[in-house]
Symmetry: C2
Subunit: 212 residues, 2 copies
Amino acid sequence: MANPVKPIRVMIVDDHPVVRMGLKTMLESEDDITVVAMADSGADALRQVEETDPDVVLMDLRMPGMDGSDAIVEMRRVWPSARILVLTNYQEDESISKAIQAGAMGYLVKCTPQEEIVKAVHVLHAHGRFIPDEISKRLLGTIGRDKLSERELEVLTLVCKGLSNKEIAQKLFISDKTARNHVSNCLIKLGATDRTEAATTAIKRGLIRVDD
Amino acid sequence: MANPVKPIRVMIVDDHPVVRMGLKTMLESEDDITVVAMADSGADALRQVEETDPDVVLMDLRMPGMDGSDAIVEMRRVWPSARILVLTNYQEDESISKAIQAGAMGYLVKCTPQEEIVKAVHVLHAHGRFIPDEISKRLLGTIGRDKLSERELEVLTLVCKGLSNKEIAQKLFISDKTARNHVSNCLIKLGATDRTEAATTAIKRGLIRVDD
DNA sequence: ATACCAATAGTTCATCTGTACTACTGAAAT
DNA sequence: ATTTCAGTAGTACAGATGAACTATTGGTAT
């Protein structure tokens, strides 16, 4: 088509060298895209964003150190001209909506084929949004769904570690009746029949980290 | 050094296009390595192995369809000259030892830097083994650890879904006392205090899949 | 042969769990 | 001002859970 006078400037943020390299190769096979920066963490990305002035930032959500959505919020603040495309491993509903709320304009899972990734970069550069249908559909169902309160999440984290209601109560300096109430509310909100299912679905939905 | 008369022939097996591309780019930056095949599943790899005759197979453990370690066993059977280097996301102890037992000669996590990956391919081609220190150390502790029986794993999977002992018993056509025994044995073997902790540590160790 | 182990089934008992309520407080939203 | 909601605490109760045992069966390893 037209001469690529002004190629799209892309920054890649991912802690995996393999993924960085894969994205770089994929994107640079397009002659209207140039990868201007590669970062291995949210902090590193923030450090590089001002001097490299990317149009699109391809960002992994799961990285050591700064939380992905926090990195997005900060990035939007210090360099709002960069449009952020989230790219992550899992289809964890809560992570996605958090990222979108934080200001991401697009979302991709890592198993996306090359053409789709390239397309997403183009769409974002043209000031569009790129949320795959299957995900936006599921998000509609997720948004309305009851969200766990901070306290409930705290309790549920301890449930995952195998603590009894009494032990949770001691650790949080509340009555064991209150702990029980919180657990019960978690069960209702998560649609679980017992604390075990609550724990596993919380992990499945990315509410609680299991890897350390 | 020497002229690369016979480059190392590598096959890449991974369901993520990004990872395939990243590995390909990384490996082909070495002039004594050539990527002769790319597969997106274990079955696909088995289909391609005979005609491409790779020296080293870089294989992801987590792929849809065939289980990674099953794919390794099969690959060792039909094409034993290929040396298998496992590359996976997580440091799940059981998955690793399963893969090693299945016949993998090397293990890498996906956050490994380029030089390390290249080095691993060279080591495997030279008929060596490549198991990172930190992993082999942990593996020593893991091997001796009590392993769950098939039945126990089956029961524990249902525990993760929130089934009670009685419900598990019904589903597996056994007495609820037996189901309870299995759960109890799982607790002991996993060092868990209750079924919830058993479920979460099973997930953490990769004994039970949580993503679908 | 025999020793070992997984799977099965059982008993007893103290404790834990989850449900279904009510009720008070303080903060935030309207 | 009033409503709404999270967090707190309580009671009562049926049922589930886990520990600690014993015991039988069938298969595998030595």
